[in-house]
Symmetry: C2
Subunit: 469 residues, 2 copies
């Protein structure tokens, strides 16, 4: 599998004819870099990296790949966490790096037309310049590309109010694996003319074709965001707090994390404990408060939660600076635990089932591996839990991962018991592929394979991802 | 085509074995009634109506249909406007009428699990009883069923804030044309595990399978809704008004209609002109105003619009009763123009293009048919225009429709020019089938046909709708 693959000079010449000089790389460093994503489980081994600059060039590349039976791995910001963009089998890596233009802005439609290589933060900044807002946000916004966000239906920290990337896509230009250019839905909010093909490409992980352009909806800017961090005595208190706030106030975020995560963030430096009381769990909630009565209401709900003993202590942001520093308590977790080589799972169950689910997982891990630390955090307002198991110092990486694989079986069986998802927002790629059957039935997987073959009959698009066929 | 089709008594017996006694109808009145929808262009001619009571019975019916090569037309509230639920070729009409239970409520998830036959208003009322809100709303909410809403991705009057039906579907149980039961997405907000099959069935018009159950998201109830009706001097003023309000206030609706529509509604009785000034166009906008400053802001924007001469006159609701009566100015239009045998089109273009689009259409109609009255109304906040041409008294129905068909060519050419949709929210069914190529490319239609064959290899599901295959 992983022997170096080299294209003949004839083929490289053909590729150069398509994309032009200086738009093709074959040096080892580039192959390593563009051939991989944030995961490090699979060895990158692409044959060439190409940087097309138009949809027509992408089409020509797909036609080339079909003709020569060479696979293509589409490549965006390479921030994926499931090896969906790793090219390990001699693929052509088709990078969207050079297709990074914002093409048009339609103020009346609150819509922007972009190329797929536009970086998330670039779009967020552009929106702000138009006095608008692109609300999908997450830690890797500085390097993830919109094409990749769409292909994985990226989520993040504002889903409770704004939904997933899917909600913001009003149209897509794609090149299918077969080589057709499709302009799907063309930016319309309402269009009831048959199957909504865009929704197959959204979250399709590049296995059906390549997204080259998109029409993206923008939103008005949020006004006067306020953040509260609350300490809670046990997990059972989290849901009543969510309910108490949500029934009165439109939350823009509702995140949670455990004391272990808090400690790791404090150890990491940069931020202070928000209040003295050490609590088993914390929730961070955010809302817009452009009107005085909203703040009064929030304080009233906070007091009610204290009376009910759902909350032990809490803090409300007093300034924009404090909004940012409170957010860091949540946003710095991943970075802070990175040195502990965490074994990560990104799972989702109905919010209703979260408390029971968390208890079961903790029992499983504690009874099997009492020396393992579990670092919980997540977007609890939408049922998405990041389960991170930290490696004890005295355990080798190999031993640790082997043990985690066993834990994983238990975790995924519990996910199955609660009809949950093995990948809430990170996609399947290669790392979750063996577990796809936990969330999708055998029949669904068969239909997915049949769909794949319609759009990509020669199976050249991102092979080895999602499922084997 | 339209000769009466009769199933043998053996086959009827088999059907009775599946659904039980009293769950099958073959009398002429029932065949006529359950075989048609709101459109009257096609003669209903089903062979039998069956009323299953479970997903398993639906599966057995689909297996029966595959075995005997008999087509099935799924049937909900039969309020469709594109003949998507008309059975004209001896189909088995599979009515969801008896599957009308609300099965579960998940307060923490703000989600309800329902059977497909639940009527829209039944869900709205149920949501209200839980102090929640189901926001998709339109004139036929009293009889349309949720399964049909999902199969056509119904829109309506609140799309500007809440989006289409698609946005509220968290999971679907379907029986595919092949006979598989799929439980898709199981109510999760976040689930990145391959192709989002639910989005093919949403808006699929029953051509891929039958929706039997759904998980539907609910929302918090809106607070203190306020309605404004504004008279505007010309269509070019409408967009600046939308922009002025939308940049400061979250609108829950932004509708428009012409003076002709206003006159027909006033002639119809029930409501009064909202202010004395007769204006070429009117907009109706709605927003939540739970806090005093929002009302002040709305009044400020209103005054600004008056100063700019975008608005000639206006009224703001002073009571809940007035909210309702102002809404009737918009909601009674369809009923008021019904006696004029209107030729209806439901089209959509980018909001940016609406002013130019409307002008072109008016010129086309006026230059070709100066005696035709055009009644415009629509959900202008999302680019959706209902174009209704009223029949002159002295013209026969046949002559009128023949002339409208010619107008239609012009209208759809203009839709094509603006990259718009021939059906914004009514679906394609049989009435828009000849025009599908205006909005969807030949390649897209080929992919759609291939998709259909995956889920429905024997082509038994709602044949003759969307496209011929």
């Amino acid at each position: 599998m992983n022997t170096a693959v080299q294209l003949s000079s004839d083929l490289l010449h053909e590729l150069t004819n398509i994309v032009g000089e200086n738009r093709i790389k074959t040096d080892t460093t580039s192959l390593q870099s563009w051939g991989s994503d944030y995961t490090k489980h699979f060895e990158p081994n692409p044959s060439v990296i190409v940087f097309p600059s138009s949809t027509e060039q992408v089409q020509a590349l797909v036609q080339f790949a079909n003709q020569h039976h060479i696979a293509i791995t589409p490549s965006g910001g390479r921030t994926g966490l499931s090896a969906g963009a790793v090219a390990s089998q001699g693929e052509i890596v088709l990078s969207l790096d050079k297709m990074n233009q914002i093409l048009d802005f339609y103020p009346a439609d609150r819509m922007v037309r972009i190329q797929a290589g536009v970086v998330t933060e670039q779009l967020q900044r552009y929106a702000e310049e138009q006095d608008m807002y692109y609300p999908v946000d997450f830690a890797s916004a500085g390097s993830s590309q919109m094409g990749g966000n769409i292909a994985t239906n990226a989520g993040g920290i504002k889903v409770i109010k704004y939904g997933m990337t899917r909600n913001w896509v009003l149209g897509l230009t794609v090149v299918t694996g077969k080589g057709d250019i499709l302009h799907i839905n063309k930016g319309m909010i309402k269009n009831a003319t048959g199957y909504a093909l865009q929704h197959l490409f959204i979250g399709g992980e590049g296995t059906l074709g390549i997204i080259t352009e998109a029409e993206i909806k923008l939103e008005r800017k949020p006004h006067d965001l306020q953040v509260m961090v609350l300490g809670v005595p046990d997990f059972d208190a989290v849901m009543p707090i969510l309910h108490a706030f949500q029934s009165k106030i439109d939350l823009t975020a509702f995140e949670f994390f455990g004391e272990l995560a808090m400690q790791k963030v404090l150890d990491h430096g940069h931020v202070q404990r928000p209040f003295d009381t050490e609590c088993p769990y914390y929730v961070l909630l955010e809302f817009e408060a452009p009107y005085e009565p909203i703040m009064d209401q929030a304080m009233e709900i906070f007091e009610h939660c204290m009376e009910q003993e759902w909350v032990l202590d809490g803090v409300l942001s007093q300034s924009l600076e404090q909004v940012e520093s409170l957010w860091r308590l949540r946003e710095d977790i991943s970075e802070s635990i990175a040195p502990y080589t965490p074994y990560k799972n990104d799972i989702s169950v109905l919010i209703t089932h979260v408390p029971a689910f968390i208890k079961e997982i903790e029992e499983i891990v504690q009874s099997n591996y009492p020396d393992f630390e579990i670092c919980w955090f997540g977007h609890i307002g939408d049922g998405n839990l990041h389960l991170n198991i930290l490696k004890p110092h005295d355990l080798s990486k190999e031993e640790f991962f082997a043990k985690c694989q066993v834990v994983n079986e238990h975790v995924f069986n519990t996910v199955k018991k609660y009809n949950g998802s093995i990948s809430a927002e990170h996609g399947v790629g290669m790392t979750k592929k063996p577990y796809l059957h936990i969330t999708r039935s055998a029949e669904e997987i068969e239909y997915m394979k049949a769909l794949k073959q319609i759009f990509d009959p020669n199976l050249i698009m991102n092979p080895g991802k999602l499922f084997d066929i």
